[in-house]
């Protein structure tokens, strides 16, 4: 009789609890990546301040910079930000093929940006502007090079997301990894917005 009134044994990890754990873990990851981006903001702020100080103090010429080409490369990076956010939106809607297409496009745009930056570096090198040519060269290459490395890291991160997505690792309720990579990528784009205006347009 006593056995009849007993409640059925509770599973060690019921689905609802598992989902809540997963969500908490995701929120922790998100807080972590935001804090990381905060430290990155300060890092770029210091590099950018160093560049501005050198530009104003020594009035180094920067007429060698190609504004039109960098406007195009900046726009390409802005497009990649759009495709990354669309990729996340796609997987949240359960549209995995669309997610893969947008992720692939983002990788392509990122690679195109890096290619254009390398092309710019080669042109500047031939015109005599190198990292040790003058203060402008040092701060310019340190700043844009550091940003370029961030883009390259982002490309590898997106490649990992693409491969995992291709293997069916993500879904409408499991896409924290994509959101984290997206946050990083958008941050890199925000930094480019600042660099483009301050370095090339000022």
């Amino acid at each position: 009789m006593a056995q009849e009134t007993m409640t059925p044994p509770v599973a060690a990890h019921p689905p609802a609890a598992h989902a809540a754990d997963h969500h908490d873990h995701g929120e922790m990851q998100k807080t972590g990546i935001w804090l990381f981006l905060v430290s990155e903001t300060m890092l770029f702020a210091v590099l950018l301040t160093g560049y501005m100080m050198a530009r104003w103090k020594y009035a180094e010429p920067h007429h060698v910079l190609n504004v039109q080409l960098t406007a195009i490369s900046t726009f390409i990076l802005l497009m990649s930000s759009f495709t990354v956010v669309m990729a996340l939106s796609s997987i949240q809607a359960g549209r995995r093929v669309r997610f893969l297409r947008f992720t692939a496009l983002s990788i392509l745009f990122g690679a195109l940006f890096v290619g254009l930056q390398l092309n710019e570096y080669m042109t500047l090198y031939h015109e005599g502007l190198t990292i040790n040519a003058n203060v402008f060269g040092s701060t310019f290459f340190a700043l844009t090079g550091f940003h370029g490395v961030h883009v390259i890291i982002g490309i590898f991160w997106l490649l990992r997301i693409f491969i995992r997505g291709f293997n069916g690792k993500y879904g409408p309720d499991d896409n924290w990894g994509i959101e984290m990579a997206g946050l990083y990528w958008h941050f890199v784009v925000v930094v480019r917005i600042f660099l483009f205006t301050i370095i090339y347009l000022f």
């Binding site: 998100k30 807080t31 935001w34 804090l35 981006l37 905060v38 903001t41 300060m42 702020a45 210091v46 950018l48 301040t49 501005m52 100080m53 104003w56 103090k57 504004v67 039109q68 406007a71 900046t74 726009f75 802005l78 497009m79 930000s81 759009f82 990354v84 956010v85 669309m86 939106s89 949240q92 809607a93 359960g94 549209r95 995995r96 093929v97 669309r98 291709f166 069916g168 879904g171 409408p172 309720d173 997206g182 946050l183 958008h186 941050f187 784009v189 925000v190 917005i193 600042f194 483009f196 205006t197 301050i198 347009l201 000022f202």
Partner: protein, 96 residues
């Protein structure tokens, strides 16, 4: 490919219309920035700083989802922005 690409999951609210609108604004602002470089210095710099700030805020607010996040994240990101602006202002004073 385990999941079909056909059926929609209504659980997550879609903001795709907003994303497309923001992308159009970002493109227009970038073009405006390039055009502004041909204007007089007196208006060029304030306008460029304004457009740059608007573009950054748009990406952070909509693409990084700060618009739909908890206030905690807004505080986290606002703090270094204020600090970075103070550093830039301090350097400007030093250089003068």
């Amino acid at each position: 490919m385990n999941t079909p690409d056909t059926h929609e999951h209504p659980k997550h609210e879609s903001h795709e219309g907003t994303y497309i609108g923001i992308f159009a604004i970002l493109g227009a602002l970038t073009l405006a920035e390039v055009i502004i470089t041909y204007t007089a210095e007196a208006v060029r710099y304030p306008l460029l700083v304004l457009l740059m700030t608007i573009k950054a805020i748009l990406v952070v607010t909509f693409y990084m989802h700060l618009r739909w996040e908890k206030r905690f994240y807004i505080v986290i990101i606002a703090f270094p922005m204020v600090l970075a602006a103070l550093v830039a202002l301090a350097v400007q004073q030093l250089v003068r």
